[in-house]
Symmetry: C2
Subunit: 367 residues, 2 copies
């Protein structure tokens, strides 16, 4: 009970309580609609590639307030199916009507897995990306839509996605260690007080409490919009996804062995940052006229609501320009909640002198 999956089968009620509920709030929709990097990328992808939309049938998976469906209609689509699992569907329908597009856009309240469309579609558009691309596992629903409803020569919006890792410097590593140590200090006072005032020895819980707090403060990845100068080595791609061909199996288990070179003279490797980009290229049979990129990496001018996910290293090793970092990365879905992730990240540092530092194994949670 409480798990969103049991023997691999998703409990829909639990999944709504844990996940979909957030998307039922206009406040949350507004946050996404105010992300200019996100908005500009989708807006340009549509309006600079009108040939993909004019006279075509479009499916918007997880339409939310309906913005992508409305743009698709404004770009000339003959018909747009806008599917939304939450009550936000009602607001999307209102918005479609007040923008006088109800003859083109049909809002359907339901999950992609459950609903049926009257026809196949030319374009599937969706903003399915979660933190570090795959958190939320929403791409599954887009692939379900693709396999059921996309015409043979149809195109995916976005068409491609990539996951990146890069070594960074950050004082977050000290903050989080302080928080953890503070919490443990509190705990030991609590153990003493409970023994002295209330005659109960709680010390048997010190081990599980330490485990819980370590996970919370040190092993849970942290949302951050990094400045580019915090990146101290070459960013590397750990996963490339072609939305037209990828499968749920392919994205459920991400593995990569990659290397990054330290580019900073002398720095403390506080952690590894993960982010993603997606591209709107259409398909090889039906390419975009103007390729658009949505990049969520560290940027001086504009962050996104996705930011980057930071995996901190405790203690942070010192590194020098020319050091080679070898990452063994693996990410799987959490057993308790298939929309959250567990990351194993082993790091080996080969110094420019040739000396090899012992590999450090790290376990992280994307919550």
């Amino acid at each position: 009970m409480g798990s969103s999956t049991q023997n691999g089968v998703v409990d829909k009620g639990v999944d709504f309580a844990n996940y979909f509920c957030t998307y039922g709030f206009l406040y949350h929709q507004k946050e996404m609609l105010c992300d200019r990097v996100r908005m500009d990328a989708y807006y340009n992808s549509i309006f600079k590639n009108k040939h993909h939309f004019e006279g075509k049938v479009v499916l918007d998976v997880g339409t939310g307030s309906g913005i992508l469906a409305i743009w698709s209609a404004q770009a000339g689509a003959r018909k747009v199916y806008a599917v939304e699992a939450t009550k936000m569907a009602e607001h999307a329908a209102e918005l479609v009507k007040s923008n006088e597009l109800q003859h083109v856009v049909e809002v359907i309240e339901g999950t992609m897995e459950d609903i049926t469309l009257p026809e196949k579609v030319d374009v599937i558009i969706s903003e399915w990306m979660g933190y570090f691309l795959l958190r939320e596992s929403m791409l599954d629903s887009v692939l379900c839509a693709r396999d059921r409803w996309l015409k043979p020569n149809g195109v995916m919006y976005p068409s491609h996605a990539r996951m990146w890792l890069a070594p960074i410097k950050s004082t977050l590593v000290d903050q989080k260690m302080n928080d953890f140590e503070g919490s443990m200090d509190d705990w030991y006072c609590f153990i003493d007080d409970t023994k002295n005032y209330y005659g109960v020895d709680m010390s048997a819980l010190t081990k599980p409490f330490t485990h819980e707090q370590k996970k919370y403060y040190l092993q849970t990845s942290i949302w951050n919009n990094l400045h580019p100068n915090q990146v101290i080595g070459t960013p590397v791609i750990i996963k490339e996804i072609d939305c037209l061909t990828t499968t749920v199996d392919d994205i459920s288990n991400v593995r990569a062995s990659v290397s990054s070179s330290i580019t900073e003279e002398n720095a403390r490797l506080a952690g590894i940052a993960g982010w993603f980009d997606v591209h709107f290229r259409g398909s090889s049979e039906n390419p975009a006229q103007n390729e658009i990129e949505l990049n969520t990496g560290p940027n001086e001018d504009s962050g996104t609501h996705w930011g980057q996910q930071v995996f901190l290293l405790h203690p942070p090793p010192r590194v020098q320009r020319g050091d080679d970092l070898k990452f063994n990365f693996s990410m799987i879905r959490s057993k308790e909640n298939h929309r959250l992730m567990e990351v194993d990240l082993d790091i080996e540092i080969k110094q420019s002198s040739g000396k090899l530092l012992p590999q450090v194994r790290n376990k992280f949670f994307i919550e």
Copy 2:
């Protein structure tokens, strides 16, 4: 989907995702165990009334880390059944063992509604109280335990509970109105920007967004540990519960018409605070030797983790010493989640001059 109840039947998976999950964290248990007012009251209720425990069979409903079960055993219980729905049961079992009470305390992982005991019990002890007493609806499980397992002359710990209301002054009313207005200002900028930059008119969502934000900022009760001098009128009791005889029906729908007199010379009635106390009196056949009270009202020296729930009035009326406030109060469980509450609070001010101000109707949510 997403509701914890459907046609009055609780979906257990959803209930775990929404509710029980919190209690699976030691951090959360520690917060409760560090509440000295709470700890002292339960500790004294047990150790100053050992006659209720010596040689007796005790049931602890929702034992958490096991503290009440351990105290019951230390006070001389022959047998203690400690029931816990979450994985915290494993930690409770460890703690029982490390305090060498495993021959007395038996930890049972399961819900009170599902499990079976091998015998009836003399005492049911439980810390079931939520914010404003009834949030979380955990008393239901205690009453289920009572009806199934308490011996005819058994006692309830606590035995009685009361809910209180009092008029207060507070600057929270200004803060929350500022927050609301700030959020609406942001919204109107967002509407303009989305129209200008992205060609979509979002103004159809202004009404539902206002509704959502009003609910969040102005109609959701606020946790606060008030100073006693913020109370500007006589506190009044709106509900008395005898834990030995009350029923789920009795606590599902709380209604009261009560009056409070303003005691402050000239003040702004920022809101109404709600809190509770519980008493440990045993039963009339089997009374406590030392009655203990646990009071969560405004207190100069020590707050509790329950604090008070504040229902703010927008705009706050001015009141004078001697004004009479008449409250028509009603609290029911939320349809979507039976552990959350909806409050209707109508207030009529009769000034000492005899002039009657028009009744103001208020709707609040305890989330």
